[in-house]
């Protein structure tokens, strides 16, 4: 419990996380407005307007996860102090994931509500909140393995915004297996999102446990 509280305090005091959360939310407001005004002009932009803005601003949540995880490895190497204070790595990794999820949940809920409520998609709000939170945890797990912010961001953004759409366009069958399908289609890809997040967390926990910090 103390570990989780300490991890949460560490995350809360990172200015980069605050900025990312604020920018993500602002971008969602802007895109929601864009979708709404396009619809009122009579030329809707294709996708479901309740979730489409989140398809873009989930990038903010990926960055949030990456920054939260790599902050330990940036200059000064805070991770050494962390493992000195908390030598048992697996409980530490669990506490980290829980703290990040707790921090992300309100941001995800606010962002999801911003996008879904104006488009009469209130039923999607809980699903979108859960998706964004899981995506953040997944990004943090990947970044824990990569340990460096820019390469981790390139990897995740490339997968979510270049490879994912291409795979879905190439074969519709692959959609159910991709972690980001649920962003636009929660009923279709939810299982994949959960499975990918758990897999990434397991991989992160194992590398964190067995690799030199």
């Amino acid at each position: 419990m103390n570990t989780a509280r300490a991890e949460l305090r560490k995350l809360l005091t990172l200015p980069s996380l605050r900025r990312t959360a604020l920018l993500t939310w602002a971008a969602t407001v802007l895109l929601t407005y864009a979708y709404a005004s396009a619809e009122s002009h009579g030329e809707p932009l294709g996708d479901d307007a309740a979730l489409a803005p989140l398809g873009y601003t989930q990038a903010g949540f990926l960055v949030l996860g990456v920054l939260a995880a790599t902050s330990e490895y940036q200059e000064g190497d805070q991770i050494r102090t962390t493992v000195l204070a908390m030598p048992r790595r697996l409980p530490l990794q669990v506490a980290k994931a829980l703290a990040l999820a707790a921090l992300t949940l309100p941001v995800a809920a606010a962002t999801a509500a911003t996008s879904t409520l104006p488009a009469d998609g209130a039923t999607w709000t809980p699903a979108a909140t859960a998706y964004l939170t899981l995506t953040t945890v997944l990004a943090a797990a990947v970044a824990t393995v990569v340990r460096s912010a820019v390469p981790a961001a390139i990897l995740l953004l490339g997968l979510y915004f270049v490879a994912g759409p291409l795979l879905r366009a190439g074969s519709t069958a692959s959609a159910a297996y991709l972690p980001d399908t649920a962003a636009l289609d929660p009923s279709h890809g939810a299982v994949a999102t959960i499975a990918w997040t758990l897999a990434a967390l397991t991989l992160a926990a194992l590398t964190f446990r067995y690799r030199d910090a």
Partner: protein, 250 residues
């Protein structure tokens, strides 16, 4: 100056992340052409794909992640910490000791980036168009040389855009996120063009009109003007980046 450019080239090409950008950016577009070949053939046979003048060139857009990564990494690598035990030790300090004249340094960096990206763009454009000719040659004529050159220019300008934004933010995450989201299948800039026609003059939208003839642009800009508008964006952002780089403490 030649020595400076050579040094910057060597620095850039010794970064593992730069090679990720080089390999990804060069391979993605030709691989997509190859993978999509059956669908494209069927679409041509069915007559659903009628406008064939953009075939091949249109697929180049997806490889832009390469120049973006290169443009960002050439600056952000200077600012990441180099030693685990010395927080605040960054490569930029050593770079500035070697080349105290900041604008000269920036000039060399820009030249190195342009050389690498132009070479990458030339290779990937040649590969993509050659594959398109091989697969659909009977239906798609080879684009005019001016359009091919414009595509290479677009790649180079995109790298410079990423580079200029990173000079301003001094952090790789912000420009990467912005630019990669914007290079996804339906870009944010494209969405904005539905809201206001002014968005047609955003660099990525207007720049694509240099070599794409498609009709889904809300405002048709002639290729020459498109090139000039995109170049104006890059010059303006680079100027801001250069002033900040010269005036700010490293």
């Amino acid at each position: 100056m030649v020595n400076l450019v050579r040094a910057e080239l060597r620095k850039l090409l010794s970064l593992p992340t730069a090679w990720v950008g080089l390999v990804l950016g060069t391979l993605v577009a030709p691989v997509i052409v190859l993978l999509n070949a059956p669908y494209t053939r069927r679409a041509i046979a069915d007559g659903t794909l009628t406008d064939l003048s953009d075939l091949g060139l249109r697929d180049l857009g997806i490889g832009l992640i390469g120049p973006m990564v290169l443009g960002v990494i050439v600056v952000s690598s200077e600012y990441t910490s180099t030693a685990r035990d010395a927080p605040g030790a960054r490569q930029l300090t050593a770079t500035l000791i070697a080349v105290p004249h900041r604008l000269r340094l920036l000039g060399a960096k820009t030249t190195a980036l342009v050389l690498v990206v132009a070479a990458q763009a030339a290779v990937t454009t040649a590969a993509t168009l050659a594959l398109t000719q091989l697969l659909h040659g009977a239906h798609a004529p080879l684009p005019a040389p001016a359009r091919i050159a414009a595509a290479i220019l677009y790649w180079t300008l995109t790298a410079l855009l990423a580079y200029a934004i990173t000079l301003i933010t001094r952090n790789g995450i912000v420009p990467l996120t912005l630019l990669i989201i914007n290079s996804s299948v339906v870009s944010v800039s494209y969405l904005l063009t539905k809201v206001t026609d002014l968005a047609s003059y955003l660099p990525d939208i207007v720049g694509a009109q240099m070599f794409i003839r498609g009709t889904d642009f809300p405002v048709e800009v002639p290729p020459m003007t498109a090139g000039l508008v995109m170049t104006a964006w890059i010059v303006a952002l680079l100027a801001v980046g250069a002033v900040l780089f010269q005036r700010r403490d490293a």
